[in-house]
Amino acid sequence: MRRTGTTRRSALTATGAFALGAVLTGCGEPETRTGPGGTDARAASLRTGALRAAAARDSASLLSRYEQVAAAHPVTEPGLAPLGATVREHLAALGGRAKAPSVPPAPPAAAAGARAALSGLAAEERRVADARAAALLSAEPELARLLASIAAAGAAHAYLLTELAKETPA
């Protein structure tokens, strides 16, 4: 493997020869779309608000599912806690609020064994990620980027939940 000296690397940085470094800092270009403010802009703004609200509702529902499964199957709680915390971050980024904690009727996923509950949660994460992937196609650019990231995180959760299910006694 080729290793490059610091001096050379610095020189490359100075001349802008970074390959990965340069592309990775490309997130600092917020698109300021100052439209004419006509009905199109108004409709777009309404659509953005509706998409964001729907995405927030999905996150709130997911969060409830996490809480229900952890409550019904304490053995899953340590594994679910960090994932639930992430879903809470998604909810906040979408401008939503968590549902008031309640004692809901046990949903099908929580009624089953711990392993089945985790698998059900994984399926739910995947379903929501798919829904976000579809919704982002009609979203304004910044919201599309956020939804794509949250959908990707959800797909990663589905993977982690599936792994967690394998390690959990049925």
Binding site: M1, R2, R3, T4, R8, R9, L12, T13, A17, F18, A19, L20, G21, A22, V23, L24, T25, G26, C27, G28, E31, P82, T86, E89, H90, A93, A129, A133, L136, L137, P141, E142, A144, R145, L146, A148, S149, I150, A151, A152, A153, A155, A156, H157, Y159, L160
Partner: protein, 164 residues
């Protein structure tokens, strides 16, 4: 290049596609460098990821041409952010590569519309899942550097392109 509707949009899309292509070149190089340090199932995972990044690279090359650009070329070699000596460092590099890939695709999602946006979102999702497979844990916002602290402090090191 399309001039009729939104020349700025096309240029922004092209820039983001070129950035993604450059990152895919680096990922292809990186997986080539790290694969040899892994065995068994991990080796197979790295091979599959290597193939996936090659396919994305080829697709982006076509995309850049379709947008009227000249696809950026791969560097002959890339300086890796840290030495890959063993399976642990190989897996850490793979995770870093996927983080970087996620970053460029989130920008492409923002810059593109239609099928290209859809593809970019799919690529972001795949990168996020692979990053979790390599690292064992995820981040809250894959690809959004402004919301994500670098998990292992290597964000600034980057894999620097070395032209010979």
């Amino acid at each position: 290049m399309r001039h009729e509707a939104g020349k700025d949009d096309t240029e922004g899309t092209l820039r983001a596609a070129q950035a993604a292509l450059a990152a895919e070149h680096a990922a292809v190089y990186g997986y080539g460098a790290l694969g040899g340090r892994l065995d068994g199932g991990r080796r197979s995972d790295a091979t599959a990821a290597h193939d996936a990044h090659r396919a994305r690279r080829d697709a982006l090359t076509r995309t850049v041409r379709d947008l009227g650009g000249t696809p950026v070329a791969a560097h002959a070699a890339y300086a890796l952010p840290f030495a890959v000596r063993d399976p642990a460092t190989a897996m850490r590099l793979a995770a870093v590569l996927e983080d970087r890939i996620a970053g460029v695709y989130s920008d492409l999602v923002r810059a593109a519309g239609g099928p290209l946006r859809q593809d970019a979102a799919g690529a972001l999702r795949e990168a996020a899942v692979r990053a979790v497979r390599w690292r064992g844990t995820g981040v809250a916002f894959p690809g959004l550097a402004e919301k994500t602290a670098p998990p292992d402090g290597t964000a600034e090191a980057g894999a620097a392109g070395v032209t010979h």
